[in-house]
């Protein structure tokens, strides 16, 4: 980073004002990043609250991809994932909030900003990676416990809990996937992709992206601890927990590009 800053400092600026201005802005940004000591290697932390950690979880995992840091002008700065097998490859990261796995995503930002005031990420696995043979898929897509079958792909979010003397599960993934059988992949995206594009305001690098187990437990309690693993539209009791995602049961997408109404994730200092 320091070497890069020094190189930019030596560069001769073009004479034209039209070109000069954006260059100056960029340099200011980069120098700002340098003087702030902000590294371009960043770590995004995921977690649950201390109170939620006392809830007996059997399994609590999710896939995330397409992470972007947002600067003060809401411009996205994509995070290039650093492959750290078995927890993330260059496209997808697996977060494990109950087991012995990784609770962070690490990567690099090619053009860092001085400051970030938001984060965007997608919960799930991109369609083109979601329906491959899990035996030959690169980690972290090789986990049998996070796969349904070729046809339906991966579980994007797997929550298995024991609360109030009930064992219950909430598993989110694509539904309405058409192919010749459960063991043949679909050729076109599923009717309900159920990928959640989450956007959270706040400084993301010194915060924790918190999965709101408290809200999920409350929704599950209201639903009498029904287990929801795919019948989101058909089983009326799944409505309360599924509503936390802000996904529509018919289209499997949110009303807007970002699921701004989602309530499952918050950013906390």
């Amino acid at each position: 980073m320091i070497r890069r800053c020094a190189a930019i400092g030596r560069r001769n600026l073009p004479p034209t004002r039209a070109i000069l201005l954006p260059v100056l802005v960029t340099i200011t940004q980069i120098l700002g990043a340098c003087t702030n000591g902000e590294p371009d290697h960043v770590t995004i932390r995921f977690g649950i609250s201390a109170a939620d950690a006392r809830v007996a979880s059997r399994d609590l995992k999710l896939y995330v991809h397409d992470i972007e840091l947002l600067d003060d002008n809401s411009r996205p700065h994509p995070l290039m994932l650093t492959p750290t097998a078995p927890w993330q490859n260059d496209r997808v990261a697996l977060i494990d909030l109950a087991g012995a796995g990784s609770t962070t995503v690490t990567g690099t930002v090619a053009v860092p900003a001085a400051r970030y005031s938001g984060i965007r990420f997608t919960v799930g696995v991109p369609f083109e990676l979601n329906h491959g043979n899990p035996l030959t898929a690169p980690a972290p897509l090789d986990r049998g416990d996070m796969v349904w079958a070729w046809q339906s792909g991966h579980k994007f979010l797997r929550v298995d809990f024991a609360t109030d003397a009930h064992e219950w599960s909430f598993h989110l993934g694509s539904t309405g996937c058409s192919s010749a059988s459960a063991l043949r992949p679909p050729q076109s995206p599923c009717a309900q992709p159920n990928l959640i594009r989450v956007e959270l305001a706040g400084e993301p690098l010194h915060s924790t992206v918190r999965l709101r187990i408290d809200r999920l437990v409350a929704a599950m309690r209201a639903a009498d601890f029904v287990t929801c693993t795919g019948e989101y539209a058909r089983d009326p009791a799944c409505a309360a927990p599924f509503a936390l995602t802000a996904l529509r049961t018919d289209s499997g997408t949110c009303a807007e590009a970002s699921c701004s109404e989602q309530q499952l994730w918050t950013l906390e200092q």
Partner: protein, 379 residues
């Protein structure tokens, strides 16, 4: 050249020429692109160990009183399980559990019905050999006697020599050879495999395909625990870098408020945790039609009974030491919530389960009894 290096070279040459060579590497026959099972570094898989292990597996002299071999309870025609609900040891003690099928166990992440700590076959084979609760082969206290029998047999002198070097007849090597043989019991030639892993669309009938889709459906939830290529969550292989092992309560018995002596509580007997009571491993379903009866205590005689059991979300036990409603067990897996099946769907599901049978595996001469003139393991 340094003195150390000369010594190292000399030692290597000595090992090479004195016949202590590691043997011929064994290669599995796996479907295309299939991951290799893991093998412990201290016991590389060789043809010589497999040959020795096969003979030991079928040899009754491995039990103290010479009445029982591994194959007595693990019979090839039954996918290396047996038809009794629970096993009986060589001295007549009844086991609490049904003999598990030995199918693709090279891929298992843990062994036995409910033990998170037994993670290699080398560890596992010591249980039937030396276990005393119940007594199985009864080798404990009879080690010298059993090894003397093996040393007196010229065939074993040769087989141990080839596998481990001359004079290396020991229980450590018995365990390594048995583990090596069992590691070769690989079954990937069922109609299901030809459909799933060889891409042959015609390998399954319409009924079997409907049954497979039902099996994989969220309505039935079978594939949640019987997951992946081995139909069990407890799988590891060389490409897999993380393994999750989850034991489950199926609702076979009610929760016990008080500890009942003699009851098999599964995982909690190992962990000591009350909440682990009645948790067991979801075993593979490969060759399941050949390995009746079912469940950890063999208490369900047929696959139809198993479907009834899961359709009801567990069962009500009316007799024995644990009467009560297993369906209401508080630790029961959330995936066992019950379902209804039409008669057609039931037939399809059974057809699918039958399509997991690999006939060649059940008759493969490489896995058969090498003692030509003795019948063993028939009941």
């Amino acid at each position: 050249m340094s003195a150390t290096r000369v010594c190292a070279l000399a030692a290597t040459a000595l090992i090479y020429f004195c016949g202590c060579s590691p043997g011929t590497p064994y290669h599995w026959q796996l479907p295309p692109d299939f991951p290799q099972p893991r093998v412990p570094a201290e016991n590389p898989l060789t043809r010589e160990k497999v040959d020795l292990g096969r003979r030991l597996f079928y040899d009754r002299r491995l039990s103290a009183n010479g009445t029982q071999a591994c194959a007595s309870c693990h019979q090839q025609a039954r996918a290396f399980s047996e038809s009794r609900p629970v096993a009986t040891g060589s001295t007549g003690q009844p086991h609490q559990r049904n003999s598990m099928a030995l199918v693709n166990v090279a891929y298992d992440a843990t062994y036995t019905w409910a033990h998170p700590g037994i993670t290699t076959l080398e560890q596992h084979v010591l249980l039937p050999l030396f276990g005393d609760a119940p007594i199985e082969m009864n080798a404990a206290g009879h080690e010298a006697e059993i090894l003397a029998r093996l040393r007196a047999d010229e065939t074993y002198t040769e087989l141990f020599g080839r596998a481990f070097g001359r004079g290396r007849v020991s229980f450590d090597n018995v365990a390594k050879a048995l583990a090596s043989f069992v590691r070769t019991l690989i079954s990937f030639d069922s109609p299901f495999d030809r459909y799933a892993y060889y891409g042959n669309d015609a390998a399954l009938t319409e009924s079997e395909l409907r049954g497979m889709n039902l099996f994989m459906s969220e309505r039935l939830e079978c594939a949640h625990c019987h997951a992946g290529f081995n139909f069990s969550q407890f799988v590891t292989h060389q490409n897999l870098t993380a393994v999750d092992t989850a034991f489950h309560v199926t609702g076979l018995y009610p929760d016990s408020h008080e500890y009942i002596r003699g009851v098999d509580y599964g995982l909690s007997a190992v962990t000591g945790n009350r909440e682990d009571r009645d948790h067991f491993k979801a075993p593979t379903l490969r060759n399941i039609a050949a390995s009746a009866p079912y469940m950890h205590d063999g208490s369900l005689p047929t696959l139809n009974d198993v479907l009834d059991f899961y359709a009801a979300g567990g069962r009500v036990v009316t007799d024995g030491s644990r009467p009560g409603d297993g369906r209401a067990h508080p630790g029961k897996s959330p995936f066992i919530k019950g379902f209804t099946l039409t008669e057609h769907e039931r037939a399809d599901l059974l057809a699918f389960l039958e399509s997991l049978t690999d006939r060649k595996f059940l008759e493969d001469p490489r896995f058969a009894d090498p003692f030509q003139n003795r019948t063993i393991g028939q009941d």
